[in-house]
Chain length 375, copies 2
């Protein structure tokens, strides 16, 4: 067993995105204790930064000490009680994962399903909400990483409010790539990931909870089914008015990385960051078109940061991805579930959303497709 | 919000322990995708290294993508079903946390409690097992981080076997500091943390499961109450015969760090590492005695890596810790629960278990105690 020295890849798959050297450098700074006063100062700054990123005043905004899936679970395991009906909008892999979360929390999922690659139809969601007047929560994925589709988060949140439902929103791929307006939309619980448009290493999941969400949690009749993710306990560590108390050992160095990614986000500015993602997307779409490749998702539903590209007939898609990785050092993603073999997923997230990266990716793709024709 | 540059502390509290620069450097290497073939090679090496560290052949040995508390929850949430009786040996903070885990998994905890600072009395444990012939699991903490006490893991595992119980063992503070003999003892489920004697950054929890444990999980009648920690799903990612499948995004750079810490562990050798911890402990105890300080735990029950020091009467213990941190750059730990104000906890774990570190700590303590007398 010897020290591991990975090759430098250009990460343009569905995440992790390419990590900026400044963030990697921050991760290597000396470890502080998780109760050190200096570290607690850092925690406060991270909370403030995440509030700005989520565009919220929600006090209970912090990073869960585990990847996005644990952020999702934090939302469901705390908000869903035995017997709670949860309407889930499913338009990809992560809607199904939400269903699993509801079941394991003892709730009753009601699914509203849409074809993968299409945006959720608001009328159908409204219909299901009308049919389920006892539903407590509406859950949906804002930016579906498995398809590259953006759901209309503002409208879905409004529908939920009109039907007295709390909302749980998956913003794993959206945060810092397109606007996520937690307060304007009236989101009650939201989770994201560090390894997407924040351009940080994977392992942390920023979350935010509204006062209404906290109220439901306070009034629970049964225990939260997870100790590690129990919000009322975690709060003592991340809020800790009158002194923080130990809950678990925070991943100190990973939090250095997240902090640095927030510093970089505000140096550039939120709107400038969104604009950079949009421009990289336009450049990619134009370049793909020049190569004769088509986008899988209709223009109005596309996420700039996650691009589903239709695989042309007769192309060995795995061979192309393999050549991209081995000959060009570029990672792009495969399709999942029903889209396996039908799409590639090209991520333009964080540090990957740069013209140089798009150009390298297009050149690599052109060469890899040609190599396939010639072989 | 500006980049964060922490001061270098000498971490001699209950964890995180002092992190070796080689491990920090490894964390800053370029991020690979979590399905990259090169990264999968690293995963295999980590599994092999953890098996050696745990001294086990258990195939299902891997690091949970979250801190030690999540490793604990992985063991309980997978192994405990609704109504399962679990006998818990409690001799500190972490026995109580085990109780919380059992309750949240729907099980029935039966507590065997001991005074904090004393080792569990095997006769009493046996008595409780005799009284609870329907118990399915015996759970205990091998190295109680809150007291510095070592439990007789071999004997407790034998008692469990004799009473047809599976075992869940907390080895958070023991792994790589004192022998942890998973196969020899017949442990069924065990969890540790990256940030103790492995001397890595916090955020990962190595676990290992026996075939008997996996058999119980396979025969569950109800769903595991966590999706993120569900072993049968995680297995598809960490085992993945015939190709790994995506479960969650692994904390890639944190795993670089864990890999490097395992490389360093085997460079030194397991037995040499244990010996280094023991020698540092002997040096610390002798030095504390010279300062007129006494150990809180009886010599035969002490952990070399976690030293509970009795606070002399009249000493403002928080002021001493604060001077240690601010004047000397050294972190030591406070007591928890009933031991708050009664003990300091000095960790000699991983990179902190060195003569230079012990000497700095003793000098700092001497000066900090004197400063208290003079003020």
């Amino acid at each position: 067993m010897k020290s591991f020295h990975p090759a430098k890849r250009l990460l343009m798959g569905p995440g992790p995105s390419d990590v900026h050297p400044r963030i990697l450098e921050a991760m290597a700074r000396p470890t502080l204790g998780h109760l050190d006063p200096d570290f607690q100062g850092l925690m406060e700054e991270i909370k403030t930064g995440l509030k700005q990123a989520f565009q919220t005043k929600h006090k209970m905004t912090y990073p869960v000490s585990a990847p996005g899936s644990a952020g999702m679970e934090t939302c469901f395991v705390n908000l869903v009680e035995e017997g709670d009906k949860v309407v889930i909008v499913k338009h990809g892999v992560f809607g199904e994962r939400m269903r699993q979360n509801v079941l394991r929390a003892g709730g009753e999922p009601v699914m509203v399903e849409f074809d993968w690659g299409t945006a959720p139809d608001l009328n159908l969601v409204e219909q299901v909400l009308n049919q389920n007047t006892d539903a407590k929560i509406l859950a949906f994925v804002h930016a579906e990483t498995s398809t590259g589709v953006r759901a209309d988060a503002a409208a879905l949140c409004k529908l939920a409010k009109d039907h007295d439902c709390l909302t749980i929103v998956d913003a794993v791929t959206s945060l810092a790539g397109i606007p996520v307006l937690v307060d304007d939309w009236g989101v009650d619980a939201i989770y994201s990931g560090s390894q997407k448009c924040l351009s940080c290493t994977p392992g942390l999941s920023p979350v935010s909870f509204s006062e209404a969400a906290l109220e439901k949690i306070r009034n629970r009749k049964s225990m939260v089914r997870s100790w590690f993710l129990d919000l009322t306990l975690v709060m003592d560590y991340w809020e800790g008015e009158g002194g923080r108390s130990y809950h678990h050992t925070a991943p100190v160095n990973a939090l250095y990385g997240l902090h640095e990614s927030l510093v970089m986000l505000f140096e550039e500015g939120l709107n400038a960051t969104f604009e950079r993602h949009r421009m990289a997307h336009d450049m990619l779409v134009a370049g793909l078109s020049d190569l004769g490749l088509e986008m899988f998702v209709a223009a109005e539903d596309r996420l700039p940061q996650l691009n589903a590209v239709a695989i042309p007939e007769g192309v060995d898609e795995a061979a192309v991805r393999s050549r991209m990785l081995n000959d060009h050092g570029i990672e792009i993603g495969a399709g999942l579930g029903p889209l396996a073999g039908k799409i590639w997923r090209i991520g333009l997230m964080g540090n990957s959303a740069r013209p140089e990266a798009v150009e390298r990716c297009l050149n690599g793709l052109e060469a890899s497709l040609k190599a396939g024709h010639n072989s």
